[in-house]
Symmetry: C2
Subunit: 195 residues, 2 copies
């Protein structure tokens, strides 16, 4: 019986909104930034600190892709935070009946038989139109944001998990949001859980 | 209104059977080898000839991956057959209400707004168990068959289409058959088409 949903997604695909709507339809809790805030409390560090550490790590790893000969292991802070996030997500899933967006939850819950792992993606035109509308920016800015955000997600996902980002074998379903629309995706998820 | 379904899949995932069952549930026609036979008739060549030409091409392309400096364009026969198959699939889709398994139908119908493109995959254990049972072979043989067949599919797909095999952006849904079972996949497809 699946009663935990993890949401992974391309930036701009609408996967986050689908997760929220599905949680509402199912009467499940929805976790995302709230989750980060709770972890931050546990760690007794501010959310801002956690974010800045993670940002630094991602920038450094992108830099290392370009200059692979540079090395050194000064990622200890970020490693600690990632590990705490993982433990927290595993604890959270114990209660079931929840949707968790992002935070590599698919990885931390990979052996949880009650978890349904979903990945959302979309056509580039759909994502650009969506970002322009929700973030009130130009098409050029939207395209750049999409590229930047997915690169960041990929980098941190691959750094922490050692798995390939968006690899189908890590998910139960990969769903294109632009082909049939968001509501159809919500209905599909509800059906997968309910039946 | 989607009334054409294309089925792409990993060998052993059960995608073919799901396609058959979904076609039955929807009252749609199901095309696969029958399709090849019809094309063969059009071409006035035997199915065996078509198969052997395609096999030769695939072997040659695998060979070329290993020895990329060898070249020469002696694929004219196969190119002709692939082109005929593509035209035939486009004609077939004109009538709608059908499920087409394999034959790179997702590529030929990429601009058809009535087509729903599905890709099925599964855990390796699930695929091996399935192949052992349906083809009455050992686990080692099953694992080898899975690897060989997917390599053949990938090679011919990428040769003909210039696209990456199993790239999510070519599909509306990528569905893991082993996580919720085949019948759930059939119901899901029927719901996607019907609602």
């Amino acid at each position: 019986m699946k009663n935990i949903i993890t949401i992974s997604r391309e930036y701009g695909s609408g996967g986050y909104e689908i997760g929220q709507r599905a949680a509402e339809a199912l009467g499940f809790k929805f976790y995302d930034k709230e989750l980060i805030a709770q972890i931050a409390e546990k760690l007794l560090v501010s959310e801002a600190y956690m974010r800045s550490t993670e940002d630094k790590l991602i920038r450094r790893n992108i830099f290392r892709e370009v200059f692979p000969t540079l090395s050194g292991n000064d990622n200890a802070d970020a490693d600690f935070i990632f590990a705490q996030q993982g433990k927290f997500i595993v604890d959270l899933a114990e209660k079931g009946n929840c949707v968790i967006a992002g935070r590599r939850a698919d990885y931390y819950l990979r052996d949880n038989p009650n978890a349904l792992h979903l990945f959302f993606y979309a056509d580039m035109d759909f994502k650009i139109e969506r970002i322009c509308r929700t973030e009130n920016c130009s098409e050029e800015e939207a395209a750049r944001k999409i590229s930047d955000m997915d690169k960041r997600r990929k980098t941190s996902y691959e750094y922490v998990t050692g798995r390939k980002w968006a690899d189908r074998h890590n998910y139960d379903r990969m769903i294109c949001t632009s082909s049939l629309g968001l509501q159809k995706c919500v209905d599909e998820i509800v059906n997968l859980i309910k039946e």
